[in-house]
């Protein structure tokens, strides 16, 4: 009984604040998704489901959904793959100056995203950056467009690469924590049994850091589905809407020229549902894999 009371006492205030300041506005915004509110006027009309129906017919939204999925897949795969690679590498005892490399890899994650994007946009600009010279020096002109951020074929992928570069260190740190929790006894035993390094990685390391993989994958997936800053800063969704993701599309319809808050909130609601569904599925699939590895 005492435990229950203290549980309520401790949890209560936080829960009340969370409900008022987070859940309240979220639910209120859900109501606005059924209106034509422009975000400024004091009046609005209920338009039923028309915002949701329009979203599935809107070329901008459909392009942004496709791009968001592509962006998520690229970032989740490469950020986690490379993060794990560097974590395994920098977990080795024989690497000299590994703390330095850990800091170097993690540093971009703590820098301001807008500043990073501005710097990369300048570097990658063929007119004012060094990219034009790099292309010429390595004879890349035949395989890559001259203007990576100005080409509809490469703009989104380039932004994804910058995102990966920025957050590799973040994933690496989580994997490192997982790796350091794995007892060295397993490796010693495997080594005595004549197990190769590769086999040790697949049979010991990977199953035992499964929780780190789960958390990293979920964090990256949710983060990329909500992506806004990198795309907005580096391409603004262009050229010709080619690199819009859902975050920037929502911003464009709600805060851009058209000023359609109600519609923007409807797309946000769809995004929220998508994030929830993907996270639940991911949790189930990876959780199952975790269970199998434990068995």
């Amino acid at each position: 009984m005492k435990t229950k009371t203290s549980f309520i006492l401790f949890l209560g205030p936080a829960l009340v604040i969370y409900t008022i300041f987070r859940m309240g506005p979220a639910l209120a915004s859900l109501a606005y998704s059924f209106t034509n509110w422009d975000g400024l006027s004091k009046t609005y009309e209920y338009v039923g489901l028309s915002n949701y129906i329009e979203a599935f017919r809107d070329e901008l939204v459909l392009t942004s959904i496709k791009n968001t999925i592509l962006y998520s897949v690229i970032v989740v795969l490469f950020q986690n793959g490379l993060g794990l690679f560097f974590a395994v590498l920098l977990d080795k005892q024989w690497i000299r100056g590994k703390n330095f490399f850990r800091v170097v890899l993690f540093l971009p994650a703590v820098l301001n995203t807008a500043a990073i994007c501005f710097i990369w946009a300048t570097i990658l600009s063929p007119t004012i950056g060094v990219w034009g010279n790099v292309m010429t020096f390595f004879h890349l002109n035949s395989i890559l467009p001259y203007d990576l951020l100005g080409s509809s074929d490469t703009a989104l992928i380039t932004v994804a690469l910058v995102n990966i570069w920025q957050y590799i260190g973040y994933s690496m740190v989580i994997y490192l924590a997982g790796l350091q929790a794995v007892s060295k006894d397993y490796y010693e035993a495997a080594s005595i049994d004549g197990c190769s390094q590769r086999k040790m990685f697949w049979k010991i390391t990977l199953p035992l850091i499964a929780p780190s993989i789960t958390i990293n994958t979920i964090l990256t997936t949710v983060g990329t589905l909500k992506e806004f800053e990198h795309v907005y800063s580096m391409t603004g969704g262009g050229p010709g809407n080619a690199s819009h993701v859902m975050g920037t599309a929502i911003y464009q319809v709600a805060f851009g020229n058209t000023q359609r808050f109600g519609y923007g909130i409807a797309i946000s609601t769809l995004l929220m549902l998508a994030v929830c569904i993907v996270t639940v599925l991911q949790r189930k699939i990876i959780g199952k894999a975790e269970m199998n590895s434990e068995n």
Binding site: L40, A121, T122, T127, D147, P239, Q259
Partner: protein, 443 residues
């Protein structure tokens, strides 16, 4: 003579009493001191002694707190001058980053103008906010007479004034005089001459124009629609009523001209990923002979001082068309309708509307002001630009387009520049624009 003096004293008394009625606090309902200069002059001319005027000023000090929220820099000189001239007003100038500014003022408006009395809404938001009752109606305020012709009327919404366009903008083209001279060229005066110059520049291995479609695709479009807008200043309004269409021959021709410039290599490769700041860098580096932009960015060139000599000309119309300046009011100062200190905010408006204060603002902000009698002497290029404000005017394209059409125009311009990838043509772009325009007109 005695009678005249008495009448003058009486008038001064009435003035003080009437100003006192406009006060901001319950305890001290007084108003408008130094800023009410015209009345002072009148009183003085009618024989009131200087001591009496000073006395009246001391009595009528406006009191209150005013917070002004803008994007960009808050100018120390302006703040100090306001503090000196309006000692009773606690004036705070809050700067917001350009990416957060719109959110900031919208959030504060939604919260009953909490912590915000004066702000400069985005151009697209101004009519929406005015119609939504979020802006204070300042119609009939005497200081509005201090502005040059057409400025205040450009801020009218349904016959009422809700803001003061403190600055005015028009499109310009910077050009590298050295590069032009190297090719034996002089400043073009028509679009036809400009095109001929581009051909010569290109032959000499100089790229004619750097653009910044990432952030200003509509402004590049305006460069090609300029002849149409000079011929027909009503064209943008006619789009709204359906009298004109994007698919009309002249509009398609303007888009086709952009396509032609892309094909001819007149626009710097790699422009698509540039914003205006980066375009300026490319221009300074001598990568292109010209850069299109607007007078709002004069400080960029004023601060950078490129190594080559440069000149400036307005957007150009074709031969035989009267060239007009594409013009629009710049920063619109508005008072939130729910401001907690309306009278103090009005006193600041009165203050900025006085020529000496407006002059100080222009010099400090390096902007083209709209108050009568001020000069643009903050940079030598500003003096070159001054005559453009005296030209016949047409509406600035990107400022007056309807929302969907504006977004679509940016998209289509980018697609036309990347036409090798997108296979977009002027006709396809025009069709997409008309669909967006119809959507706007329907709404």
């Amino acid at each position: 003579m005695k009678c005249k003096g008495l009448v003058s004293l009486l008038l001064a008394g009435v003035m003080v009493a009437s100003l006192a009625g406009c006060g901001t606090t319950v305890e001290d309902n007084t108003s408008t001191p130094k800023a009410a200069a015209p009345s002072d002059t009148k009183a003085e001319s009618e024989g009131t002694s200087q001591e009496e005027i000073e006395e009246a000023k001391a009595e009528v000090t406006v009191t209150g707190e005013v917070t002004m929220v803008t994007t960009g820099i808050e100018y120390e000189e302006i703040m100090n001058a306001i503090k000196e001239d309006l000692p009773g007003v606690e004036f705070t100038w809050e700067q917001q980053g350009s990416s957060t500014f719109e959110n900031a003022y919208k959030t504060r408006l939604a919260a009953g103008a909490e912590g915000m009395d004066i702000f400069t809404p985005a151009r697209a938001d101004y009519p929406v906010l005015a119609s939504a009752g979020q802006l204070l109606d300042i119609t009939g305020e005497t200081y509005l007479d201090n502005y040059t012709d057409g400025v205040i009327s450009s801020a009218e919404i349904d016959g009422k004034v809700y803001g003061i366009p403190i600055t005015a903008n028009c499109y310009i083209v910077w050009y590298n005089k050295d590069a032009f001279e190297q090719c034996g060229l002089t400043q073009p005066t028509t679009f036809d001459e400009l095109e001929a110059d581009c051909a010569v520049l290109k032959e000499n291995g100089i790229v004619p124009l750097v653009a910044y479609p990432k952030s200003g695709a509509e402004q590049l479009a305006a460069f090609f629609f300029h002849d149409l807008l000079s011929k027909n200043p009503q064209w943008l309004d006619q789009l709204k009523t359906g009298e004109a269409k994007w698919t009309d021959e002249e509009a398609v021709a303007a888009l086709a001209k952009l396509e032609e410039w892309v094909d001819n290599g007149y626009i710097l490769d790699g422009s698509l990923s540039l914003d205006d700041t980066q375009a300026y860098q490319a221009f300074y580096q001598g990568q292109a002979a010209m850069l299109h932009n607007g007078t709002w960015s004069i400080d960029k060139i004023a601060e950078a001082e490129p190594e080559f000599s440069y000149g400036v000309f307005p957007y150009l119309a074709k031969e035989g068309t009267t060239n007009r300046a594409q013009y629009c009011p710049g920063n619109i100062w508005t008072i939130a309708a729910e401001s907690s200190d309306v009278e103090a905010a009005k006193a600041v408006f009165n203050w900025i509307s006085q020529p000496e204060n407006a002059q100080l603002y222009c010099r400090t902000a390096k902007q083209f002001g709209t108050v009568k009698g001020i000069s643009f002497d903050f940079h030598e290029a500003a003096e070159d630009i001054t005559p453009f404000y005296e030209m016949d005017k047409t509406k600035m394209m990107h400022a007056y387009l309807t929302p969907y059409a504006k977004s679509e125009l940016a998209t289509q311009v980018q697609r036309l520049i990347a036409k090798d990838e997108t296979q977009t043509t002027a006709e396809k772009a025009a069709l997409a624009l008309q669909i967006a325009q119809d959507n706007d007109n329907k709404n």
